[in-house]
Symmetry: D2
């Protein structure tokens, strides 16, 4: 067992989630590498110091360069705004440090290209923070599908829906400005990543992206409120996805429904400890979707609790992610989703935006 | 109170449903017109006689012309295959008889044009059998939306999904032949009608229609297994619909989810006595989708039971439809959905098929 | 096929339900005996005539004796207040007429004794109106348990909960007066009957019966608002039941949960088309309660609809009951639940009231 | 901010949960006291050392006395078998160290008496580990009831049901021996504590406690498989509780349903992020149980995630508990549930066992 100095850039929503995860991942998973909260970086010395105290880091800074180049920082977690991802990641790789970068990978396709190139040239661990797919339920869904338990996939429906902007009077903020902060940029990547993980590569897309409330108190809105797309997977499955920040009543609607020739699967993150499975077997009179509660029989559940049905939560999926990141560093083996995997998601986002603009199907390979 | 002689064409699935409905609608709703089961028509004298005895008709025949022209038959219910709808309906109108015709209105756009023209020229009661929208829950949903209770509609998702052909080894039958028997022809019209009723006119559509299992034991399949479409409503709402006969695990997935600027509604026919309503009001800590069980406070429930939560069933929605048909005859006032309303649904189906064929958005007004 | 003249006593809630059922049961089930709505009786000539017209009876009367003795009335359905059941039933049996009597069997144990004796002496069809146990889902549950599918039963929890008196300001009416109109008298019998049907005989009971709101606008309340009991079944299973008319939010909480050594079953009438089944088999990772939607594979569903998941409603369970009554008359075979079966339920109610009074366990055989 | 040395006795199920909680509570809640994992004790030096490494403690021991008396151990968490609780707690208090003791408080009433006396004499922080009541949803339920939001309580139904011994062939282990390891000893206390917290003091109880499977592979069973009780609360509410380790299909059935004169609440730990609330207000047509997803608007949720509906898990409720323990130490204010509160639960367990033995109601004040 060895410890590893962690530097986290950003102390807000995701920065805190990673800090908490790094605090407990060792005890939960008995990891070979034990994180040491070395340094946190924020936009001002004051806020950085506040995060340091609150989360328990050894030191703080308002300079990302200082953090990245600090010799005691041995791995870097990027949880800053998308525009900053590229520069930081490239610097970290240049210094030989593994990087876990929050999604989306960068703020543009160019950012992504550069980040993938740097990551692969470095040979270092590189990972994108798609944490939702790491819940025990979604990991189990992946396995069931991969094992052919529900047969050939014929249909996929996914959504990532929330309602934090459902009220037309909710004021304009940084979230209502910039494509990477809109629904396609910020929410869609999670479910697109899930679609790729569960079903496989997407070949083409036909999308509609829309700003419903074009002005809000405090200003104009220049990014999208919701978006839908029809997709075709490489394996032939047909699919549909919907993303929204105005889905009234939905709080964490990261949800999917999958039909196969032998069964079906349903999942909704709002009840993240249940996976619904239907098998086309046995007498008709006893068929039905069964509600499987996650437990020690499912991936990565037992370290959190020996009792089934007791449930994992949002923070736990970040802990699972931290374990995967540490293990990749330890073993030197690539960890899904790599920067390349994350960039593939961005290509689909780019294709969707282009499709919406000229109202035509777009092949992903053209992006 | 007066009685009225009913003739029903077709004694199968829907023919029986209408026969049962006509038997009990008087007692349930205390209708001014009381149906008298006068004559049933089927494809052979033997089956017609069997239906007569079983359902309690006075007479039977294997000639639709005989039924329609019988002087004691004062109103006609058409529950035969789509190809026959046009001829029968036109004959009935020519003889001055009101017609309740099962969906879809005919087997082609030309059929529909002719049927609408004849119906409107006759001035007689004409109605299409979209019974699902008549459940107390869906009627209540319509009222809530019409009253602005969930604000301006921003998003509609509808589906009509079943799984009777989910098994690739299910044999080819009449259902796997002919576009009007496929998913777009047979299942989609119900939910398209619901979309029109709940949200309003549809302006354009972008669709994918697919035969997943092109051969089945016993033959080729020449109609569609499932289909999806993106739609835009005249009021600006964005929408998505999915229709399937291969939706493994789904038995009666006539379901919709609607987001508005003040609330949201969810419904699934598999639990037809529940309507889920979310209101963006009151403290955040108490907001949530509420599961409203249908009861005497909802449209057309009380005649079935004075107790809330006791529930109505499939047969009851046909009884409500029969009441509406009888009332229209009695009062001479048009009854929604008229043939014209049903034909509007067919136009959307036609536009969707065309869209799927050339992969472009289609304006409904062009069909 | 032959017809049979039906006389119904009472035109209110249950009288109407039976009238509608008798109108449609022939068409639904293709019964050998076809009901003819011969006569309806109500408390005044005016109300009787109103019911006659509304439900479609041939004649009306305000004299139960006239109805029972009318030669064209060949079978009698009693849907009048409990105090009247005994006199009417005895007269009907004396005239050789089969009787379907609403629950509870009478207003007292003495009534029940007399009614059982008369019924059995007559050799005529006698049946008590426990309709809820006749839904396809509950029939299926009975079969599963009887077939040992969930093993030996270890636990039963049942409830019949509604909230029509949850509001302390709801006024006193006939319902708040007389033990047979209270929760134990009026609601409990349905679930006690279900317990007997699903699990088997009850040996002893320990109960608490309570009037929570002792005065209401308009008067004193002299019967119970809610009641609970612990029970022991003859097969050794432990059980618990709860009955309430003040169960805020519950509309039709006829619900049960049953644990066995090989599986478990859950049901709630508020979603009467779903039966939840858990089987202790297969890998742990795939176990869960499955939601089985009723369909043609379940008892008595298909005559209502060929499609699974389309659902039956409250009225349909009365139609199933009518079919069973007619079949018993036709075949001369006893039909469960007979008067004796219904009286067994009353004995348990009596034991529960006695137990509550002196706070001790009571053996059912002593009542 | 100051750190505090934590010693944990026991490294199994609950020992690990506390170790993880102590690792992350500081980062999650920004606590004034920051736990330092000082020492872990287990039954052998080898297992203790294994726990030390795995969870990240500084030192390990197989001597509870060594841990308790170690000067760097400033607070003690007891997660060893019940028989050991008393001795350890008394020693800790004698040394002036605060104690968080897992439920049940001890292995007997005498243990409890002694532990309460020692705790109160010491004036030190003493707390019992009823963590389930600390979820955001259950905390919110407590507040709603305390604020009178659902009116006067008329009915409480609680259960703690699991199925780890549902299979009669599951072998005998330490769990099947000793009353404090049976259902009443081990599972019931959680829900009894919840009943007290939600509704208030219990006055009397009538119970049945049963060993269903008296022998299992490997030996005799001398404790209970399931138990039920009827209870009466001091505020007049009637109640029922059920506890089981043989509730087939139930994984974490810590669930309650509460009726009041103005509303109702339902909760089930198997979906721990949902609280169901019914309010008897507004039009009948819109009433229904609403499913409230926990979020920042609910107690102790936001530190785990800023997004509603993202969900907390089992581990998080232990973290909340740790925060409360640390805050009590810091402020010197008592923390619910104290040893006295935990002992009150044991008194109800004792009354229930006595009631079951002689089949009579028992007043809690006699125990």
């Amino acid at each position: 067992m060895a410890d590893i100095g962690i530097g986290i850039l950003g102390g807000g929503y995701m920065g805190k989630a990673h800090a908490v995860a790094m605090s407990s991942v060792g005890a939960v998973f008995n990891t070979a590498l034990r994180p040491r909260l070395e340094m946190v970086c924020a936009s001002s010395p004051e806020s950085a110091e506040r995060y340091r105290q609150s989360y328990g880091f050894a030191r703080s800074t308002d300079s990302w360069r200082e953090l990245v180049s600090d010799p005691k920082v041995e791995a870097v977690v990027i949880a800053t705004p998308q525009e900053t991802h590229r520069e930081i990641a490239l610097a970290a790789f240049a210094l030989g440090k593994p990087v876990l970068c929050e999604k989306p990978l960068g703020a543009s396709m160019e950012d992504g290209d550069a980040m993938v190139a740097a990551a692969e040239a470095s040979g270092l661990t590189n990972m994108v923070g798609f944490n939702y797919i790491r819940t025990p339920a979604s990991q189990h869904a992946r396995q069931l599908i991969a094992n052919g338990e529900i047969g050939d996939i014929t249909w996929f429906r996914g959504e990532h829906t929330e309602d934090f902007y459902a009220d037309p009077q909710a004021p304009a903020t940084w979230r209502t400005s910039g494509m990477s902060n809109g629904t396609m940029g910020d929410l869609a990547p999670h479910m697109i990543n899930a679609a790729l993980a569960l079903i496989g590569p997407i070949e083409r897309v036909m999308a509609e992206v829309e700003t419903v409330h074009k002005t809000r108190p405090g200003g104009e809105v220049d990014n999208d409120d919701h978006a839908q797309m029809m997709v075709r997977f490489a394996n032939g499955a047909m699919g549909s996805m919907y993303f929204s920040r105005i889905a009234t009543g939905r709080k964490m609607g990261y949800a999917y429904e999958i039909s196969g020739t032998k069964g079906a699967i349903r999942f909704d993150q709002e009840d993240q400890n249940a996976l619904w499975l239907y098998r086309m077997e046995g007498p008709e009179s006893e068929r039905g979707f069964r509600k499987i509660l996650t437990g020690p029989a499912h991936p990565d559940y037992e370290p959190f609790c020996q009792g089934p049905g007791h449930g994992t939560g949002y923070q736990d999926q970040i802990i699972i992610e931290a374990r995967d990141f540490l293990r990749a560093i330890e073993t030197g083996k690539p960890v899904w989703p790599t920067f390349r995997d994350g960039h593939e998601v961005n290509r689909i986002v780019a294709a969707a935006l282009a499709s919406s603009a000229d109202e035509n199907w777009k092949n992903i390979e053209d992006f």
